[in-house]
Symmetry: C2
Subunit: 195 residues, 2 copies
Amino acid sequence: MTAQRLQEIALRFFADKGYDGTSLADIAGAIGIKKPSIYAHYSSKLDLFLAVADTALHDYRQSWRRALDKGEALPADRRLQSLFEEMGEHFLADRTKLAFWIRLWVFPPADCPAGVRDAFQTLTGEYLAEVAAVFRAGMEQGRLRPGPADDLAHALFSLLVGFLIRAHAYQDTDHLRLLRQTWDCFMFGIKTEDG
Amino acid sequence: MTAQRLQEIALRFFADKGYDGTSLADIAGAIGIKKPSIYAHYSSKLDLFLAVADTALHDYRQSWRRALDKGEALPADRRLQSLFEEMGEHFLADRTKLAFWIRLWVFPPADCPAGVRDAFQTLTGEYLAEVAAVFRAGMEQGRLRPGPADDLAHALFSLLVGFLIRAHAYQDTDHLRLLRQTWDCFMFGIKTEDG
DNA sequence: GTCTATAACAAGATAGAC
DNA sequence: GTCTATCTTGTTATAGAC
């Protein structure tokens, strides 16, 4: 199916050069067809982008849904760690996916319909609500410090986002080690007890 | 000076719509001149961008240089906190500056010379080295847990970046409260001592 | 479904008058 | 320094043959 190939290649270009920086000739050339042939599969450049974005949103939801389910039986603190590492490894494993995801969330194209941005925000809101629930469970179990669960969920999300963006910008270092180190800070703090 | 006005307006457009998404006609129109007049001040669109980027890089360096100096007399843990909050507040105070900074670092334009990206990386490298030194000092003073100072500096940087990008995407919530909450997690951890 | 050809337009950049 | 006019190139998109 050429439509599928088009999405794959378009994802690469949009992730790498951005929506405005990508021309349909680039995409067509990369899969060996001519530019007008794209219109047999997608009615416009934006239509192609929306198809790619839709796939990305589904993948995003699936990734945290699966990561949450995977650690369901764990105590809350271990579940959060599992979630953090699973999400980190998920995006680290595919840099193209990561770059597209960041671009879609942080700098969507100017003519991107508001519905897509809202869908992203809604998904993230659902994710944050789930994470906050795990925080509350951990506090009730006495395994996590008492605190504002919603804010803590946002803080953990910030940490994940920052880690991923740093990984996007620094392509060289040992990210898995840093992922665990970053998690340990969040878990145990950097301060000594007697400070 | 029209050249100065051009930089200010260009900064806004580049931050908001990106380099590729901004046309010289947009910029010219916003300050009330015509497109060709820009060429009396800058030899090309890229030349204008580089001028803006240069200013942004200086501002970036100055912000962490000043934040580091400001807390020089504090003990290491308080100094890190001061640094984190100063940097956070610095970028939160000017969303345009923040958006341009993120774009320049994470998704520079395709025709952006490698020198500019390298300059950014070098600046960040210097910053990370300074932060790592503060970590080491804190460990020697017994106020911070022993650990890999370089990795911890990166982790703290990730946290700041994630917080800022989250703030860029969610323009509504109370960011200063979340900034402090996020810091507390990093400082004291989320785990109870007896876990 | 893919192609050639072309329309319609926007963008960066230059020439030359004022 | 700013303008009008123009050039050139690149882009999205369509028409119509195969």
